[in-house]
């Protein structure tokens, strides 16, 4: 069977599965819609969190980035997993004890202020929208390459599917589709990895194949280091980034992960505090499966790529090469007109440019794997993008219907009315996300980094101080969040979009890139909040008692009603 037939079959089966689950798990109350009824098992929640968290970026882009950047790519591996330690130890159990439905709920109640709540809603919306646009784009990309439909049609199909199960099932539908999507995406990620690991190293476990010898008896990593030196790239196992930048980017990604609303809300869906801790462990275990495999795939595909194309005649390029040339994501420019592909570190002589995003998708083709494996990767990429998109859309819809309408604009709204509002805002959110998917702003890639920086600069300090620093008051928290966000926005706009006079790498403050600046903004947030809280009145006794109760795990039942 051809690749296209296989892809239609696998995508068809997985999509019907998601729709079936959505019909089975229809939400009938706001509690169902926002937190899946609050009784999800830790294992299911761990699976759902893993799918929620691992987006098109983790599935499609990350291994590719590591493949091209080698050691420098480690910031993503450590940053996007280390955040779970912070989540499990500093946030999840306490937020679960607090109960309620959303992150702005916590900020608004803990800091006894609707101003704080509004700032939190604003941040949640910005973070989630920037993120979701990227997911829709990922859906379109997979559709256009593997099913040869127009990229816009791909985005549209993705929209309809997400719309169906997010609007119908809310968090309940999303949770159980995410469980299914995790299974699909991890299977799709692991199968080619295992195949290639056996091909190249005779080991079925990619994590071990990563450090093994190839068929020629040389360690793969040593061989790639040598190839890189010969072709003029920087050595694979050592980096080009400065140590301070590595530190700050890793920290920003970790703290940003722990501050992302769509991840945090997942911990509201379990029954009790100990379940919240357990789901964090399950989540990280499931994520670690992909995250420890990704660098192995990066190594395998980089080696395979160089061996296939470097110094080989253009006429002899395999089918996948021309397929990706058609999409424009791979281009060959025969500068010295010798008909041979020169792939070099020197940009003036280099003749081949490859988009990082195609590495995972092209990898099974490069390794000559059977068509069904390649089709599986397409289905996996869709699962990763859709699961994250749905989680984000829920945060957006809950921010509008719960935090804005129910908590601020019209508290008298009925349960039914709120549920209707939640569904309506989910529809609007899907349409806006789809619009950005079809007409992506040039800055999608840049804004994903901005989303992490924003979460790090705003939510993380406000939430952790809300739990660990009883005397933190509304004045301090609001000032900290606002200054943190504004500083982060300023730095990103200046160095990413050339506003405020722009600037280049040598103008970076302390040599820190915009990607790592979230860490600086977070530290400023902490400092500002603490200093201001010292000069303003303590929070009311009632709030200090609330903090006391958040800190102990027993008595969750009461906290969940509202």
């Amino acid at each position: 069977m051809t690749l296209q037939v296989w892809t239609w079959i696998l995508v068809g089966i997985t999509f019907s599965l998601y729709i079936g689950i959505a019909i089975w798990s229809k939400a009938s109350s706001t509690k169902d819609f926002y937190v899946a009824g609050g009784g999800v098992s830790p294992l299911a929640n761990g699976l759902a969190t893993a799918a929620d968290w691992m987006s098109a970026a983790s599935f499609i882009s990350m291994a590719g980035i590591i493949s091209f950047n080698g050691y420098d790519g480690s910031v993503y591996l450590m940053g996007w997993t280390g955040g779970y330690v912070l989540l499990a130890l500093l946030l999840a159990p306490y937020l679960r004890k607090f109960g309620k439905f959303t992150v702005p709920d916590f900020i608004g109640d803990r800091y006894y202020s609707n101003v704080a709540r509004s700032v939190a809603v604003f941040c949640a919306l910005i973070v989630s929208f920037t993120y979701v646009a990227g997911q829709m784009r990922g859906v379109g990309l997979v559709f256009s390459r593997f099913l040869e439909v127009d990229i816009n049609t791909g985005v549209f199909i993705g929209m309809v599917i997400v719309l169906f199960y997010a609007v119908l099932g809310g968090m309940k539908g999303i949770t159980y589709t995410q469980v299914a999507q995790y299974c699909v995406l991890i299977f799709a990620f692991m199968v080619p990895a295992i195949f290639i690991s056996i091909q190249m190293t005779d080991t079925a476990i990619p994590q071990i194949g990563f450090g093994s010898k190839g068929t020629d008896g040389v360690y793969l990593l040593d061989k790639l280091d040598r190839l890189h030196r010969e072709l003029g790239f920087h050595e694979y196992t050592s980096g080009a980034k400065s140590t301070i930048d590595m530190l700050f980017i890793t920290a920003a990604l970790m703290v940003g992960t722990a501050g992302l609303p769509h991840v945090i809300v997942r911990f509201f869906t379990v029954k009790k505090v100990s379940d919240a801790r357990k789901s964090a462990a399950w989540a990280l275990i499931f994520i670690a499966v992909l995250y420890t495999t990704a660098p192995a795939i990066a190594l395998f595909s980089r080696t395979n790529l160089i061996e296939t194309v470097s110094n080989v005649e253009y006429e002899k390029m395999p089918q996948w090469f021309t397929n990706w040339e058609d999409t424009g994501l791979l281009t060959f420019n025969d500068k010295n007109k010798d008909g041979i592909v020169q792939y070099l570190g020197n940009t003036e002589k280099n003749e081949l440019t490859i988009d990082k995003d195609i590495m995972v998708l092209a990898n099974p083709e490069i390794a000559n794997l059977p068509n069904w494996v390649i089709a599986l990767v397409a289905a996996g990429g869709l699962a990763a993008a859709l699961s994250t998109a749905a989680g984000l859309l829920l945060v957006i819809s809950a921010s509008v219907s719960h935090d804005l309408i129910k908590k601020m604009i019209k508290p008298s709204i009925s349960e039914k009315g709120e549920l209707r509002a939640a569904r309506a805002s989910a529809v609007v959110a899907v349409i806006i996300a789809g619009y950005f998917g079809i007409n992506p702003p040039d800055f999608v890639a840049a804004t994903v980094a901005l989303a992490f920086g924003l979460a790090a600069a705003s939510f993380f300090p406000a939430i952790t101080m809300g739990i660990f620093y009883k005397k933190m008051n509304k004045e301090g928290a609001i000032a900290g969040m606002l200054i943190g966000i504004v500083l982060m926005l300023f730095y990103m706009l200046k160095f990413k979009f050339s506003w405020f006079g722009g600037g280049t790498k040598k103008d970076w403050w302390f040599g820190i890139s915009p990607e790592g600046f979230g860490t600086v903004a977070m530290i400023v947030n902490f400092l500002v909040a603490i200093i201001i809280s010292k000069f303003t009145p303590n929070p009311p006794d009632k709030i200090q008692e609330l903090v006391e109760t958040i800190r102990i795990p027993s008595g969750v039942g009461k906290a969940h009603d509202h």
């Binding site: 480690s74 130890l89 994590q207 093994s212 196992t237 100990s274 990280l284 420890t292 660098p295 008595g555």
Partner: protein
């Protein structure tokens, strides 16, 4: 021991656990994976340079273990102070 004092002790023990676990978290990622990476890279672990291995594999394994240890410690602590649900 009054209830209030018990809760204070519970919280202090919790903070102690956090301090220990987070210092390990810092050590394997920021210290071994980034700051000391060149020094550790002189040591080899099979086909890996050790610093590189920590940055792309080891730190992640340790993160998982840290959360599992945390769960164990906290479940025991909750039981001791009768705070388990």
């Amino acid at each position: 021991m009054s209830n209030r004092e018990g809760l204070k002790k519970y919280w202090r023990t919790n903070l102690k656990y956090l301090a220990i676990l987070l210092s390990i978290w810092f050590t394997v990622s920021f210290l071994f994976g980034i700051i000391l990476v060149d020094e550790l890279n002189t040591i080899r672990l099979g086909g890996f340079k050790l610093g590189f291995w920590f940055a792309q594999q080891g730190a992640i394994y340790v993160f998982v273990i840290l959360i599992l240890v945390y769960i164990k410690l906290m479940n025991k602590l909750d039981k001791k102070y009768n705070l388990n649900e």
